[in-house]
Point group: C3
Chain length 140, copies 3
Amino acid sequence: MWHQQEIRLPALARGFHLITERIVEAVPELAHCRVGLLHLQLQHTSASLTLNENADPDVRHDMDAFLRRLVPGDLPYFHHTLEGPDDMPAHVIASLLGTQLTLAVRDGRLALGTWQGIRLGEHRDHGGPRRLIITLNGET
Amino acid sequence: MWHQQEIRLPALARGFHLITERIVEAVPELAHCRVGLLHLQLQHTSASLTLNENADPDVRHDMDAFLRRLVPGDLPYFHHTLEGPDDMPAHVIASLLGTQLTLAVRDGRLALGTWQGIRLGEHRDHGGPRRLIITLNGET
Amino acid sequence: MWHQQEIRLPALARGFHLITERIVEAVPELAHCRVGLLHLQLQHTSASLTLNENADPDVRHDMDAFLRRLVPGDLPYFHHTLEGPDDMPAHVIASLLGTQLTLAVRDGRLALGTWQGIRLGEHRDHGGPRRLIITLNGET
């Protein structure tokens, strides 16, 4: 079985946001998939997708705080500055974390570890809504 | 063909470990796959999977040494510190490197380059055993 | 449908290079795929594949400039130095950005966002030609 759809996430604040439930609810076809893979791809270059801790909000805070310092906006050798000091760092972070994820599906559910959640990283100050393509491939 | 299984890696020291042979030996079904993809997904948020140099142990040492300095454990703005100074860095590194890999399969084998090997990155001081879901999809 | 092939990219200068058109032209089978996934895997450990901004060359310049400073070649604790000061940084950057990508296919085309392009990151000073395995899986 193949299934593909596009969803739209509303504008979110800069930082990391758990979107596991939103993804799962958007794809009821998942329940019919015995074994397969779910692929997620952002349509953007200044936000990211990553699998990480799903419980303590401090982990999301600390990861964002670290990345803001790792890639500051005012590096003197940056040329791409017309879209604001948050834009070039957002591109760099999007490539460091990635904008697509492939996740195992087992018995109609995402085969995530106990502490794993899907996170959207919004790396712009005012990023706007984000579009995501979901592709499910597997056997029923 | 679809095939899926879960394997358990024993506790490994902090750093990078080649696990290519372990993966290949765990999936004899690979030999029957003419063309396909092998997907690996850790069930954890403080270890990583990455494809990199398979020969010189110094490369594994240097990459770990670099990442320890890139994400130190005592950053004053880290809030998530209850699980020890190695925990928050491990979460950050897991997202920088990733916790899943998709690998090409050709003629019954992983289509790796001469110098490519699958590496588990253990980013905790005492990480314990790690579970991994292997999903193979392809045609015979 | 499954389709797999290997392509060879000519030697490119250190930095980031857009290869979207080159990939698409190499795989005419893409046009027959209604929904699917295209997987790309470099056969090397000192170059990378990433999805990022496809328009302004400054973004590619800035990302390379940032990564060169993030992972300098003369770190005193690097042991793997026999292949030159650009080699160990190239291995680190290859793992930070990744050497494989999985991309959504829709209606015979890559389902990329308006500003998304596939980039090859060449992280060696004189990297030579790079081999890439392309695997397409989908339904017609």
